[in-house]
């Protein structure tokens, strides 16, 4: 017959094991403090699961998407990442996505699913008309329009003035326009689709 004391001892031991076994995870988590609050220009790679939580649980942090990325625009959250640590992001201010589909093809999990180019949703471009050169000064620029891989469907000039850019609803948010924008304050940036001026006015 097992004595009550041994049962208690074993229970204590198991409880101690259960508590101490979470310590390595806590220790690893200590090194990645909470994600910074506030506006961030970081985008997720194309073909990403629409729900951020579902993406975090599907991504195993293997880094394959970054390794096949031809322009090397995919980077990974580090110390500032919080629970997003080791998951991929694209900072279009540094280097933007060229929509080549390689990351979606190589991803072993469904975190990045293969999506046709027109259905990719990384966000939508938004132009700050109080800063954009042609909108403010009537100067000649058009860098964003000429770089856009989707062409006329995504961004075009306003009809009555050749050089004032206007975003259209087919924009997938690849961020090449952000990368190429010559204005130091980047009046064009990628926002969530629901927050974009164009989409808000359409809906």
């Amino acid at each position: 017959m097992i004595q009550r004391r041994t049962v208690l001892q074993r229970l204590m031991y198991a409880a101690g094991m259960a508590v101490t076994s979470t310590l390595p995870y806590g220790f690893a988590r200590l090194m990645v403090p909470e994600a910074r609050a506030g506006f961030s220009t970081h985008l997720r790679p194309p073909g990403v699961l629409p729900d951020e939580h579902a993406f975090n649980s599907a991504c195993i942090g293997c880094g394959l998407c970054g390794e096949v990325c031809p322009p090397r625009c995919i980077r990974f959250y580090q110390h500032e990442g919080g629970e997003k640590v080791n998951t991929p992001y694209i900072d279009p201010e540094q280097k933007a996505c060229i929509l080549c589909n390689k990351c979606m093809e190589v991803c072993p999990t469904e975190a990045l699913t293969e999506t046709p180019r027109n259905d990719i949703d990384m966000g939508i471009a938004q132009i700050d008309r109080t800063a954009c050169y042609p909108w403010v000064d009537r100067v000649i620029c058009g860098a964003c329009v000429s770089i856009c891989p989707l062409g006329e469907r995504a961004i075009g000039f306003k009809l009555w003035n050749q050089y004032q850019p206007v975003v259209k609803t087919d924009c997938v948010g690849c961020g090449l326009c952000v990368e190429v924008c010559p204005h130091p304050s980047l009046p064009i940036r990628i926002v969530r689709r629901s927050e974009g001026t164009v989409t808000r006015h359409r809906l």
Binding site: S21, A28, C62, P70, Q78, E110
Partner: protein
Amino acid sequence: MKAKPFFLWRHLNKLRWLTLATVFSMLVLLPFLHVYQAYVAAHAYDLLAPREQELYDTLEMLTAPFVSDPAEDLDAIKGNTWSGTFFGLQLSDPLAAAGQMAAGMNLYTPFLLTALIPVLLTVLFGRFYCGWICPASFLYELNSNLAILLRRMGLQAGRRHLDKRFKYAVLIAGLVLSMITGSVVVAAIYPPAVVGREIYYAVALGGFGAGTVFFAVTLLFDLLVAQRGFCRYLCPGGALYSLLGRYRLVRIQRIVENCNDCAKCNAVCEFGLDPLRDGFGQECNNCTACIAVCPTDALTFEIKPQDVGYQGAGHLGKRYQREHAYGASGEGMP
């Protein structure tokens, strides 16, 4: 004296070191390949210097037979041991599959299938991944060599014994935490994943990441607390492999007729197992260090789903010979 084991088993340890070193150097070289690819893409191929064109042609020639799309020639081998592609074959760590399954709370079969080959090999060979492939193992073994060096200099490295079952608790805690937080937390503390990732970050993205500190701490833990302590007591992947390889078919076994009880096998075993008394268990990673060190060829591979129990003292040893010289009951012993 029984027949000697197949002579090649003695040299498997060298092959193992070669494999470990190859995997590790691949992990270092692949990010450079990636950087080089981006370099070629940035400077069109025609504009490269002749020497660089030669290098590119050579690399392309090596990989071209294995890929269908010439544009993806150099993408044939990508990734690390956590998850990677190898000439079109996608392979993943079973722990990655388990962790992802727990985090998402659903079965995503295409990804689980990539872990199938490693799982089958583990069922056959037990914890072979730990001894033969794991890039962290490579560094940990170098680290235990450093401990030997320190001991020669008079500094005592830690040789504490903790509870082996602790790593199973770490594995379960990791899966439960994955379920709760919804992200694959085991990836943050699993050394091979950390090492593969950090090398890639350092080479291709210009700096070590958060995991480097963690890995450095595990190295110190091994040095100061217990020999190969992380693998033996904490590694969640090691726990998973031990469970999968519990009834492995290929295992090391002692030939009691050849054994002389010299205990060199116990001294050389990095995992602190007990080959001298047939104590291999599910922890053995088939590293064959004990076979290589055995002076009387008393250890060999057997195909058996379970260990034999303690077979008694080695027949060439003093204890066995004393007992049997004077009879089993020991009458007339000095």
